[in-house]
Structure formats: C-alpha cells, structure tokens
C-alpha cells in the first residue's frame, strides 16, 4: 500500500516537472504562432531597424524600443551591480553577525515590494529630483536605471553572498597566512573564486530588469524615439507591449506579438551567453 502511494507521488512529481516545461513551450508556441506570420510579411530587418512606430499608418519599427530596453537594462546594471556586489562583500567579509542579521532580512524584504510601488516612488520622489537637477521631464533613462538598479539588488546581493559563503574558508586562511589583508584576499581570491556565481546573479538581475514592465511604464515616460541623453524619455519593449495590447487589433496586434518574439529572443540569447560563461568557468 505504502509502495503504491509512493509510486503515485513519484509519478505526479515527474508530471508536474514536465508540465512546467510544457507550459514554457506553450507560451513560446503561442507567441511565435502570432508573431512569426507578421515577421514573414513585414520583414524582420525592417521591423528591427525601423525607427518609426505608427500603427495607424502600418509602420512598425521597434528600434527605439530595443534601444530603450538595452539602455534601461544597462543602466540598472551600472547602478545595481557595484552596489549589490559591494554590499554582499561587506555583509560576508566585514560586517559582524548582528549587523548581518539586521541587513539581510531588510534586503530580502526589498524583493517582496510590488513593482508598482517602486514605480510610484520613482514618480513621486526620484523623477522630480531628476527634473530639478538635470532638466527634462524627470521621467528618463536615469530615473529608470536607478529604480531598476535598486529592484535587482536583492537578487544580486543574495546570490553573491551565497557564492562567497560557499567558498571553502581555507582559501581565506591560506591567503591571510601569506600576509594578505582581508581586502586583498577579497579582491584577489574570493571574488575570482565566486565569479561564476556572481555572474549568474548578475544575469538573473539583468533578466529581471529587461523583463520589468510596471515600474518601467511609470518612470520612463514611454516616448517612442531614439534617446540622445540620459535624461531623455524612452519606451522599452515590455512597455510597448503592455501599453498597446489592450486596444490593438489585426496587424497591430500581430506586430506586438512579433515584438514579444524579439524580447523572447533577447532573453534566450542572454541566458545562453550566461550559461556558456558559467560552464566555461567551472571547467
């Protein structure tokens, strides 16, 4: 009887595991089914490099959105990576237990805040500050970079902390015994040793930044144009889809699905690069 129940449990777990893969394929299939015919008709090069997006005139160029997504994501990394990796080093190597026990849960709490709240704070606090100090509307690449940079902090900090603490403590001892300071040990032994883990954290953070939609819609201004400065408003691929899907019909709707295909491709390429780097490192 027990054996029977175990078999059932085992089989259903396998089923659940496979169904997640199936769901992934379903999503991909659904997006591609709607998007690919459009791309075949409109032409991929024109879609990717066109800089006007005017659905009313059947002009579908997503270059401004691609550039918007790249800038905002890069900006988030420029803000989030040094801050995140630095905080993780501090917490693991320099902070005492008491401080760590206060800060670590606070960081985890940061991950639980809904993105609309981040967007709200971005609009109410950060955007005016950017407007007053740098000009423009305040809804800009800079604003979005800072907000997204903070949003990806928990991911980067916790994965970096995990990979630093996973290193054998003897590395540190061996380095200190040669006359290295803690700081030299961190830079020359621990960070290189934890590199692949840290990289994985950065890629995950990047995935979160490129896929973030709600906060981005609220703080980038959503202007469809190729930005020329940090204080310009931009629209990302995710915002484009979310803003227009509600009312888009016919070919416009298909164009948005094609946009999703491109986004999907971006994320796949990013992840593949990450996996390649990580595999190469661990060899």
């Amino acid at each position: 009887m027990n054996k029977f129940i175990e078999t059932i449990i085992e089989k259903s777990i396998i089923l659940i595991a496979f169904s997640t893969v199936a769901v992934l394929f379903l999503i991909a299939f659904f997006i591609f089914k709607e998007g690919i015919p459009f791309l075949a008709q409109y032409g991929l090069p024109g879609f990717l490099t066109g800089s006007t997006w005017l659905p009313g005139e059947d002009k579908f160029g997503i270059l401004p959105m691609i550039i918007g997504s790249i800038y905002v994501t890069l900006g988030a990394l420029i803000v989030g990576v040094p801050l995140g990796v630095g905080s993780a080093i501090f917490l693991v190597e320099f902070a005492n237990k008491r401080i760590r026990n206060i800060i670590k849960p606070a960081i985890e709490l940061l991950a639980g805040i809904p993105s609309v709240v981040y967007g709200f704070i971005g609009i109410m606090v950060l955007a005016p500050w950017v407007r007053i100090n740098f000009g423009g509307s305040g809804l800009s690449i800079l604003t979005a970079s800072i907000v997204l940079g903070i949003m990806i902090l928990p991911t980067i900090i916790s994965i970096t902390m995990d990979s630093l603490t996973a290193l054998p403590s003897v590395y540190k001892e061996g380095s200190i015994a040669l006359g290295a300071t803690t700081w030299q040990t961190v830079i020359m032994v621990l960070l290189p040793g934890a590199k692949s883990g840290i990289l994985a954290g950065i890629i995950l953070g990047m995935g979160r930044a490129i896929g973030e939609t709600m906060a981005v819609i609220m703080i980038t201004g959503n202007a469809i144009r190729i930005p020329t400065s940090l204080y310009d408003s931009v629209r990302t691929m995710t915002s484009n889809i979310a803003l227009e899907m509600g009312y888009a019909l016919g070919i416009h709707r298909s164009a948005l699905f094609a946009n999703a295909v491109v986004l999907f491709g971006f994320i796949m390429i990013l992840n593949t690069i990450a996996i390649l780097i990580i595999n190469k490192r661990s060899k």
């Binding site: 003897v170 001892e173 061996g174 380095s175 040669l178 006359g179 290295a180």
Partner: protein, 252 residues
C-alpha cells in the same frame, strides 16, 4: 649556543573561558627544526597560530604573555601583522592551493608585496618550486589549475608558495598527515634541505617522523609543555613519565 629565533614567555591562550595553552616557556633557535608532538587538542596548532598571529582572526581568542621573534615582541601595536605573516610562513595539514593556476598561486604572495614584473615572478616561482622539489613535475604546465595536482604535489606547492615571500620561519601543522609514504619522504627531505636557510617548527603526530627530521622535540599535553630537548635524548631517555608513556604508546 645558537642564536634564539623565537622566544615564548609565560604564554597563555584562552578561547572564551577555556584555557588551551598554559604558561608555556620555550625557545626556538635559528636554523633548527623543532618538532612538536602530543595528543590532539593539546594546543599545538594554537601555538603556531599564535606565532604568526593567525589567532587574531579567531573571535573570542585571548593571548597573554610574550612571543618575541629576533628579540622583538610580535604582539606590540606597532607590529604590522601582514609583514609578520610574510616572515612566518605556515603549511596546513590539508594543502590549500588557491583556486587559480600553479603560476598564479606562486605569484600571489610576491604580488601582494608589490612585485609585478612577470620575468621576476617566473624566476621566484622556479626557485621556490625547485626548493620544494616540485619543479620537475610541473615545469611544463605552470598554467594548469593548481587544484588538479595530487595531494602530495599540492602540499609541496603550498610549501613553495610559502617560500615565495621569503620567510625566515616556516611552521608546519601536520603537513604529511594526508600524504602517502613517498610524498611524505619527499616533504621530509625538503624540510631537511630548508633547514640551511630557515627556522622550522613541525607539528607531527608521527613520532618516527619527529625522530627522522628534527633537532629538538617538544612534548605538549593538554596545553602544557611537558618536556623539550634534543630529539634523540627525548626519545631514548625521556625525563618525564608522561613523555615516556606517550612515546611508548601508552596514551589513548
């Protein structure tokens, strides 16, 4: 009488409330190999960690008394611990190659202390690998990860690495406990070779090894220094009954 290199006076060490070294007084001469024997938990490793102040990094550890190297108290505030640790190398029971290439392991110490010229680093690496009799085995693959060496090779690499920063004293904490007899005898002959230029302290749980390589031997028991003297004399005619019991294997 030989010059005194390390002088330990009234040394007491506590971890929290527990005293693990009790009022130890001893000298180590220049260019000698001193063995330390004794059952585990007798404070042998702790003594080594006191001599290069690795114990500074142990929370709750307290050291009283004096340790002087070349007549200078190493626990004065004016002493730079990083320079001290450069001068006093240590080899652990489990070899600890850093997760990088063989060459980078050897270049690590010199780089810390400001040497960046690659030619010079290669020179140092070769000399130290020769001194630890590892050169012939690795000369063609210095760029290989050090983690791929065998245990015995890793231990000799760690020894070579300790030599790269030109120490004066080298501490060995049961360096052969994980090695096969052939690797062990290589490490032992290297130690005898090193004696010409360095002062060595060797903790070993192998009394035969102590007898083979060391000039003098100290016997520790539960934090106390029971007896110290010429190795041959200590093993043939121990003065203390507890020493005799230990070397004849009557201890647990």
């Amino acid at each position: 009488m030989l010059k005194v290199k390390i002088k330990v006076d009234n040394l007491n060490v506590y971890y929290g409330n527990k005293q693990v070294i009790k009022d130890v007084n001893m000298n180590v001469s220049d260019h000698e190999i001193l063995s330390i024997i004794g059952p585990s938990k007798s404070g042998k490793s702790t003594l080594l960690h006191v001599i290069n102040r690795l114990i500074d990094n142990v929370p709750g550890a307290k050291v009283t008394g004096q340790v002087c190297i070349d007549g200078k108290n190493i626990y004065l505030d004016s002493v730079n611990v990083n320079d001290l640790r450069k001068k006093v190398g240590i080899i652990f029971a489990t070899p600890v190659p850093l997760p990088m290439s063989i060459f980078n392991n050897l270049a690590y110490g010199p780089r810390l202390h400001g040497i960046t010229n690659r030619e010079k680093l290669l020179d140092i690496a070769e000399n130290c690998l020769r001194a630890s009799s590892l050169w012939d085995e690795v000369k063609s693959r210095l760029d290989m990860s050090a983690l791929r060496l065998s245990g015995g090779q890793q231990q000799r690499l760690c020894l070579a690495r300790a030599l790269t920063v030109e120490p004066e004293i080298i501490l060995f904490d049961e360096p052969c406990s994980g090695l096969d007899p052939i690797s062990t005898s290589k490490v032992e002959s290297t130690m005898r070779e090193l004696k010409k230029n360095y002062t060595l302290i060797l903790i070993t749980n192998n009394t035969k090894q102590a007898a083979r390589v060391s000039d003098r031997t100290a016997f520790f028991l539960f934090g106390e220094l029971i007896e110290i003297g010429e190795t041959k004399r200590l093993f043939t005619a121990p003065k203390d009954k507890r020493t005799k019991d230990y070397i004849t294997g009557k201890f647990g």
